[in-house]
Symmetry: C2
Subunit: 428 residues, 2 copies
């Protein structure tokens, strides 16, 4: 690759989208009260520029329907291929311009973000519809204040990483035996916070929480997650029954669109010492704005693959900072751990200035398929030191899991484990 960059060699020459699916439903990995058979999947995008450089991105899906996401990306690709990357990013301001220069390759994402000047950062955010909660000027002020003590935090991050909790022991489809085994495993690994799925059967939930509290005791942290199955009043009543087990938060108690409902639940559960967490299904910054405005959530769970990319997520962090709500990113899925670690580390270093009372979710699935997977040690995400957003798949992962023609899928179709969609005339 030449170090001299011209307009011509920064032109995007191809944008490829792949449908990758992992058969996680076979072992109930990822199962909860709402999603009983997820096959963790993603639409995986490779953009190549004239110089030969490639960039990778993905969005997380649950299997069926990934082909629609692929189609949407193909449609959008018409706006991308043939463009010069510097031109595309110019409208997002100097932040995205920096990404397109050679310095992109020398920096990890969280560090790149953390090293941007406050003025550069705010220039890449669309503040439309947000001005009654935060203006560009207020955001700038918060970022300027956030610089205080940055060096020290970067060093601490490089040394010990960022704290996380595990959801791995608490899938709803797991037996008590398996839960016990996994809780012990994660205790040994240094974890002090555990999340369990709830919401299908109250009696079972009480028994499961009792079972887990008996293993971990009350000095460890326990969260519960209902994955949207309840009505508003039902959530309040159900959680009143689980309050005895001192959960830190109830996650997704009802519809992810119901700001007023979450506010009502928050108000009712506050005297019981239970907070409300949500955000992984929140569709844009305007809904986040309202959840934060209305004290509808006390833990804001941004997701790296749900709203409009890093730019829009930054606006959520800024609103959360202004309104004093803690951000604890949703992760797991495919590649979510790899991505959100960067965002939360940026927040720690450059905005909130603390990791107190915050965690990144950690789920130990599908990391083996990435070239630079997340590394968790002693219940901390280690700060990535490789360039980029950690979303590049290994070549063999693509060969095996591209859907439906990947080797692993062909083998499973042959064995009858799954049925081949190509046999359906509507698969195109």
């Amino acid at each position: 690759m030449s170090h001299v960059q011209t307009t011509e060699n920064l032109k995007i020459i191809s944008m490829d989208v792949k449908d990758l699916r992992f058969p996680t439903s076979l072992h109930a990995d990822g199962s909860d009260a709402m999603h009983n058979d997820p096959d963790y999947s993603c639409a995986y995008v490779t953009i190549k520029i004239q110089t030969g450089l490639e960039g990778h991105g993905l969005t997380f899906t649950l299997g069926r329907g990934t082909e629609i996401v692929v189609k949407a990306i193909q449609t959008l690709s018409a706006l991308v291929v043939g463009q010069v990357i510097t031109d595309i990013y110019r409208e997002f301001g100097s932040f995205w311009r920096t990404l397109t220069s050679e310095s992109q390759l020398r920096w990890v994402i969280w560090q790149l973000l953390a090293d941007l000047e406050p003025e550069q950062l705010v220039s890449c955010i669309d503040f439309r519809y947000l001005s009654n909660v935060i203006t560009k000027e207020e955001a700038l002020e918060l970022l300027k204040e956030g610089r205080e003590g940055k060096e020290e935090r970067v060093n601490k991050l490089l040394e010990v990483g960022y704290p996380c909790y595990t959801t791995q022991a608490g899938w709803l489809g797991y037996s008590n035996e398996k839960i016990s085994e996994l809780v012990e495993k994660y205790l040994d690994l240094g974890f002090t916070a555990f999340k369990l799925k709830v919401g299908k059967n109250l009696y079972d939930d009480i028994k499961r929480l009792e079972f887990v509290r008996n293993i971990i005791g009350y000095d460890k942290i326990l969260m519960v997650d209902a994955n949207q199955v309840w009505e508003v009043q039902e959530a309040i009543d159900w959680m009143a029954q689980l309050a005895q087990f001192k959960p830190l938060w109830i996650e997704e108690p009802t519809s992810p669109d119901d700001v007023l409902g979450h506010a009502q639940i928050s108000k009712a559960l506050h005297p019981l010492g239970i907070s409300v967490a949500s955000g992984e299904m929140c569709c844009n910054r305007v809904l986040f704005k309202q959840f934060l405005q209305a004290d509808a959530i006390q833990y804001c769970q941004i997701d790296s693959a749900r709203i409009g990319g890093v730019n829009e997520i930054l606006s959520v962090y800024l609103m959360a900072k202004k309104l004093g709500v803690k951000v604890c990113p949703h992760a797991g899925g495919v590649g979510l751990c790899e991505m959100v670690q960067h965002l939360q580390m940026w927040d720690y270093v450059a905005l909130s200035g603390t990791s107190e009372g915050r965690f990144i979710e950690y789920i130990d699935q599908q990391h083996e398929h990435f070239v630079n997977p997340t590394i968790v040690e002693n219940a901390h995400y280690l700060a990535p030191r490789t360039p980029g957003y950690n979303t590049t798949f290994k070549k063999e992962a693509i060969e095996n899991y591209i859907y439906p023609e990947g080797k692993e899928w062909e083998a499973m179709f042959a064995k009858g484990v799954f049925s081949d969609p190509r046999k359906h005339k509507y698969w195109t």
Copy 2:
């Protein structure tokens, strides 16, 4: 067709989806502050059952991206083809079962809905996430009360139809000369309510409202529509400047997802005598619930092609009735007038019992392509007397406007009016 219906001949044997686009951008028809070059389009679905009977449905789009909607429908088709229609609808309750029996063909939709017993109607609605505003039992009560005086209202509907207003004179891209011509035309046709697009330039808006008020006077009704371009405070300030022209409502003043923002605008504009209208972009019943709960809108604009079909829309009507908010459906687009008339007529006959202070939007575009188009006379939608939801296209409309291979499109590509998407390698 046989009158004896067996399980076998009620099987769905095909589901076809077409991408139909009309080049409305050529004359700025449909232009507003947010959408400056819409090509009114739709994904058009034909379902055929074993007996040979066909059913048609559509969803409205603005051109680009229709192929994604088509893809999504193709994916969903796997759940439909091969099913027996009676089995599919069983889970939606007896309402949908009725649709699948032969009686479907003897009734127009609004009359079919109006003739269902309250118990049948509520059984087809998903009340999930709504119970803190309306329960199934409360809905049943409202529907039972709604039966009072039904016969009389059916007769009135058949006689004079349902009142409407026009948006046709007020597209933002139109010149004063064209606006003047169209306002006069619709006054002659008996219209007493007019909607204008606003939001691009305050000075221009003031001039345009003054211009139109000079023609129609102050005894006619004027509404304005900003198509989501403002911040919350900006909407309040802008409308304070337009209040002198006595608009009945401001439609879509800000983000369609901002319940709390709309509530703030409503509160500020109430003393000025201006109401807030929204709903055409509202994504589901949970958001509608909050808009209605929070007095964020005083006119609820359901759309027939945006949320989950008739079933979900019925739940919005029921919540609006309970909370005393008037429903004034959004229409226009492609086929929206044809569909929403049925819903609003059902509401009049069977639920709210009045059309006072309510209108259906009317836009005179793309009706000529339908086999049974909407008929408007003396500013009233005449009650449809033909079977079904009025969504069947004429054969020649399909031949001409199927995208991109329709005759009209091929002709426009040849003349260079539009560019052919098939020349792009990412069109598949």
